[in-house]
Symmetry: C2
């Protein structure tokens, strides 16, 4: 295993420490237990936003803590849910008197641990709502999930709910817009290579030299099928069609198109896929009015890409466009 790490067992805390130093103007990293909050502290009267999940998907979630997005993020061990005792102080830190929305990707461990932490927080008087992100259309049920997995659509939920909270929406309104994003966002990914969890030391799965896996999960969970490597246009179609069909996209609609790298794919290839996906959407009469291309929800050094499509309306566009200042997303 070749990785830029010291003790693989400390990979997450070592990385968080560097992250905190590099972005001290935006975040504060807490270490015992590990969680991340906004550097500026609570914003009085604002609904707090908390998310979290296994590490290995950076910049998700800690990279999205800051003005206009998350108030706190909770990183578990690599590909492992954070524990309730990590989540609880993050929820408490995010509470500025207007309640907290927990944004949870649909993995069984995340769901259970967030539920436990939310109960503990509520017992201490914090009002907490939750939203479950399950945008991956590849498979129903999976290695760590009952129902669909939550993947890169999470970025859309965190950005848009974050903007709603920042403009002063109350907890029920922020929760409603987060659920509206969940209802209108779908994703699907492909892996060209596997990835290696540091403390395991060998690839999570085997993929032949000429083989790719369509519908891969962000932890390397099995997808729909393995196929021979194919041109970008064909791979893009195999991702975009299920996403667009599941959304029942109609001619005349407009969308946000997120082309997300899995960590080890060059940016230049992501733009090739973006061009192809945009062409396929235009063939359907769908306009891409907002775009995001880059590594946002990764799987360590995996080579691959996921496509996320979010159906937009004026309100969602406005919230997407609202200012954001985090380590990984800024405008």
């Amino acid at each position: 295993m070749k990785k830029l790490l010291d003790d693989p067992a400390n990979a997450v805390v070592d990385s968080l420490a560097g992250f905190g130093l590099a972005h001290a103007d935006v975040v504060t990293v807490h270490t015992d237990p590990p969680y991340v909050t906004r550097a500026g502290g609570r914003v009085a009267g604002k609904v707090g936003l908390v998310s979290g999940g296994g590490s290995g998907h950076e910049p998700l979630h800690a990279g999205f803590v800051g003005d206009g997005m998350l108030d706190a993020a909770v990183p578990g061990a690599v590909f492992t849910s954070p524990t309730p005792d990590q989540i609880l102080p993050a929820v408490q830190a995010a509470d500025a008197g207007a309640g907290v929305l927990a944004i949870v990707k649909n993995y069984t461990g995340d769901v259970l641990n967030f539920e436990t932490a939310v109960e503990l927080a509520e017992a201490e008087g914090v009002e907490v709502a939750s939203v479950l992100v399950n945008d991956d259309v590849a498979v129903e049920d999976s290695l760590y999930t009952a129902g669909r997995r939550g993947v890169a659509g999470t970025v859309c939920v965190e950005k848009i709910a974050g903007a709603a909270a920042a403009r002063g929406d109350d907890l029920s309104a922020v929760t409603a817009v987060a659920n509206r994003v969940v209802a209108n966002v779908r994703s699907m990914g492909v892996a060209l290579t596997a990835c290696t969890v540091p403390h395991v030391g060998k690839p999570s799965f085997d993929l032949g030299d000429d083989e790719i896996e369509i519908g891969i999960g962000i932890h390397g969970e099995p997808g729909r099928h393995r196929v021979p490597v194919a041109p970008a246009g064909e791979i893009t179609r195999r991702l975009l069609d299920p996403v667009a069909d599941d959304l029942r996209l109609q001619t005349g609609e407009r969308v946000l198109l997120l082309v997300n790298g899995m960590g080890g794919t060059p940016l230049s290839e992501l733009y090739v896929v973006y061009g192809r996906a945009r062409g396929l959407l235009e063939e359907r009469g769908v306009t891409v009015s907002r775009s995001l291309v880059g590594n946002y929800v990764t799987s360590l050094e995996m080579q691959g890409v996921s496509l996320t499509v979010l159906r937009l309306d004026d309100e969602l566009e406005r919230l997407w466009d609202a200012p954001v200042h985090t380590a990984a997303l800024r405008w």
Copy 2:
């Protein structure tokens, strides 16, 4: 070869097309010959900034076209210098009456082709100055270079000269500050894996399963030595010490620290290296007052990292902090 491409021979133009569509608010992509300009067109009376070089290093250079940075960028074929007939229209497009600064990385092909294009532009009445970036301390002379190679320090030159041009400095002042950055910036990189040029189809060099190459070039040119894979702290020291020594950094100085991923390395590992490099600088009594961590000057899907240190003063800090709005850098 597994890549998200259609015809490998069209990799650069396909990628540029997607890039142009995704960032139509920031850039305009020209195709015959290929070069990239600001979407808003010339800014009357402002010094124009042009850079370019082989593709495969994305987001460099096209990702840095926009307000506060470059006016035009010229992408060659992968790891191949752009031709004079590509560079000339980019220089002309960047000329808004106050002259143009060409920022050139020190590779023989880039130097010669920019020289030819500059002569042609001057013959047509455009005033052009050039600055040569040669920040890589790893080796003197190399596969494609006489003297030191230009690597990630280029981002510092483009950002700071771009800010000087944006505030209205004249050509000699913009050139002077660009040269001051060159004089105060040094870099060195390491490769954990090789990369594969699309139209070649096999890795550019061989690296053993437990071997890394210290001092690698961004085209996979040989570095200083191959060593067994080592902990991040040790690798970081082998990069940071030559950089800091070459800069003759003194206790009490302050610097910008850029930890640059080579394309295939997870962000989490870059933050581990950032933390280690910062610790080593602090041991020397040097303060890191500005930071940048991410994939900025890459080598396709190569796994590895480079460290860049720029000695700062009030003026350079102010120019670094000035607003920038490009596809890859925005604040």
